[in-house]
Amino acid sequence: MMSVMQASWVIARRDFMATVYSRSFIFFMLTPLLVVGFSILTAFVGSRAASDQGPVVAMTVDTQTGAALMKARDHLASRTNQRAFPRLTLVPPAEDLPAQARALIAEDEPGYSAVFSGTLDQPVLHGPQRIDESVGGRMTLIIEQAQRERALSGTGGAPFRAAAVQRDITTEAAGNLRDVRLGVARFGQFIVFFFTLLLATMLLSNLIEEKSNKVIEVLAASVPLDSVFFGKLLAMLGVSLIGIALWGGMFALATLFSIQLLPEGYELPPISPAIGWPIYSLLLPIYYTMNYMLMGALFMGIGGQANSVREMQSLNMPVTFLQMGVLVLAMTVIGSSMSGLMPMIAYIFPFSSPLAMIAEAGQSAELWPHLLAIAWQAFWVFLTIRISAALFRKTVLKSGGSSPLIPRFKLGRSKTA
């Protein structure tokens, strides 16, 4: 009788050889490359996002006051960090300052959060009520710092005394709305990504059951393989939607309960996607469905090539990184407004398109790109299913001649008749 160690060695050797000699192991070995690529992309997107973000305040003041405020702002920012204080832009003052302030606040570009006018002795801050605790508070600090610096340098002639900032309450500023919308864009993108990551990976091993219990032979003789793939995708989509409905319902209840706990008179920020809640509520499940179907069809196609659970396990990590790579690509659209190479790639590349477009719905009110994108994504769902099914037929069922669409590629050895 073999000793435990001998027997263990026999098992270990077989398992090791089976894993290393499977073709999926190549993908496993390539994972570090994906990690490196992912890191580079994250850094790129992160730096880009950092440069884009932060509120901007327009200063309709003379150049001397503007310079003093900018100096004060830089001084404070150097002691904390650049994003802690709003960026300041000097705008030549018009005759009717309140009217100019309202016009600037309403402009989408560059999207001011507030407007400063007056002088250091009589500062006026134009903007909506709710900025008092954010941009407004920070602007007060900057103004006080400028007043303090002027007093210390003696150019003002008077001892330092903080002048109260006068408030001119306006409607919501475009810049604040943009921040909210960018937040909605990020949130929508994350929700779609998170649920897809959670649920679509299950599709990787979906065909293993049919392959292992040989039902696939009966299915292939009865219905087109495309139907098998599409049917499985639909079934799993249904399962995922049930899960999302349950979790979403619980989240909604928790949110409603939390709102009840807010102090009376507390005003919630105007959280709203640029395209409006009704259309956004429609687009969110559509883009989730598209993302799920696209990723699901791809994963099912990849998973269908694997012959064993072992090969499936080897595929799990690269596939997860693939999804994260797609997310990082889609993140480049936030704040881009349909411009730039990477964002355009993200909108067009079918596997990042749903994530990019749900972000777009958060930050832009245009409807037509969504109609175009949904048609484009649906086409790719169809194409991915066709390719996955054809690849399965060719490499697993060992059928069909050579096709320019289907590369000569397989993961493992499959049994022939």
């Binding site: 219990n213 040989k214 696939i216 032979e217 009966v218 003789a221 219905v223 059928s399 001649g401």
Partner: protein
């Protein structure tokens, strides 16, 4: 397309990884017949059936299934039992049968009702709501067979249907095949066990080395071999021995040899004249098994010679 043919195939070729598994198969299965595809292991039977059903595409050649060049177009009228049986283990028996019917276009409710009837009529009434995993292998195979016929197909394709069944269930399956054929259904099955084909089939194809070596009626296959003579004599030796053919061999006191081409009369006269003292003489028609062994054996010899010929060329 000939309406009298349920399946028609010509020049089917299929290679796997550069190795030819099927090398020019021609088959014509008459509508309403029981047709057997016979061949040793690895002859190409399963590959042929899979090509006929459209599970795999041939590299070359053409086939029609119930008149359709695309077999899936006829899928609702076809039942298929694959060699490697496949059922979802957690599915209940009734659901499994109904599901297979639904795959072939049968409404699921109708499938459930028919499944229950099939199960009860065949002594499996207690298993209607039991999962497949609770069944024995033979029972599970029976369930899959019910799934193959539940939608009342015009054509039933069975790949090695008798393997894995005990003698009683093999008998039941033979009976079921006869009943389906009597109802006008065409049945085609593959086997390497010749007795089933001999009992059931009207026509057969013997496949070996990826080629059809014989195609025709069972009696024609048998007739390819000359009848065998059995002879028992009182005299152990004598002049009569010169009348026996060279291939005559004695087993347990009985001579066996092929019937001479000149017929039995000249031999009989020579035996009587030579003083054999005939105790027993009979002429036996050869069975399909013998014909199969000879045909498959010739094919094997030919196949072995082929690489040498190719190398010589």
């Amino acid at each position: 397309m000939d309406a009298a043919l349920a399946i028609e195939a010509s020049g089917l070729f299929k290679s796997f990884d550069g190795k030819e598994a099927v090398r020019g198969i021609d088959i014509a299965v008459p509508t309403g017949s029981i047709y057997g595809i016979l061949g040793p292991n690895g002859a190409g039977k399963t590959t042929t059936l899979r090509m006929l059903l459209g599970i795999i595409e041939p590299d070359r050649g053409r086939r029609t299934l119930l008149g359709r060049e695309r077999p899936l177009e006829a899928a609702t009228q076809v039942g298929y039992l694959p060699e490697e049986r496949g059922l979802y283990p957690a599915m209940k028996c009734r659901e499994a049968v109904a599901f297979m019917g639904a795959l072939r276009g049968l409404p699921i409710d109708v499938g459930r009702k028919r499944a229950e009837i099939l199960l009860r009529d065949n002594g499996l009434g207690d298993y209607v709501d039991k999962p497949i995993k609770s069944l024995s292998k033979g029972m599970a195979q029976t369930i899959q067979l019910f799934g193959t016929i539940v939608h009342q197909p015009k054509l039933i394709v069975l790949d090695e249907p008798f393997s894995g069944l005990d003698a009683i269930n093999q008998g039941r399956l033979e009976q079921m095949i006869r009943e389906e054929a009597a109802a006008g259904t065409t049945v085609i099955f593959s086997t390497h066990v010749i007795h089933h084909a001999e009992r059931l089939c009207e026509r057969i194809a013997i496949i070996a080395g990826g080629r059809v070596r014989f195609e025709g009626e069972v009696s024609e296959a048998r007739d390819r071999l000359p009848p065998q003579v059995r002879l028992r004599t009182r005299a152990a030796d004598g002049r009569w021995r010169t009348a026996l053919p060279h291939d005559a061999a004695m087993t347990d006191g009985i001579w066996h040899f092929q019937l001479p081409t000149g017929g039995i009369e000249p031999l009989l006269k020579a035996l009587i004249d030579g003083g054999a003292g005939i105790e027993e003489l009979s002429i036996e028609r050869r069975g399909l098994h013998d014909a199969f062994v000879q045909i498959a054996g010739e094919a094997a010899a030919q196949q072995m010679a082929e690489p040498e010929l190719e190398a010589a060329e």
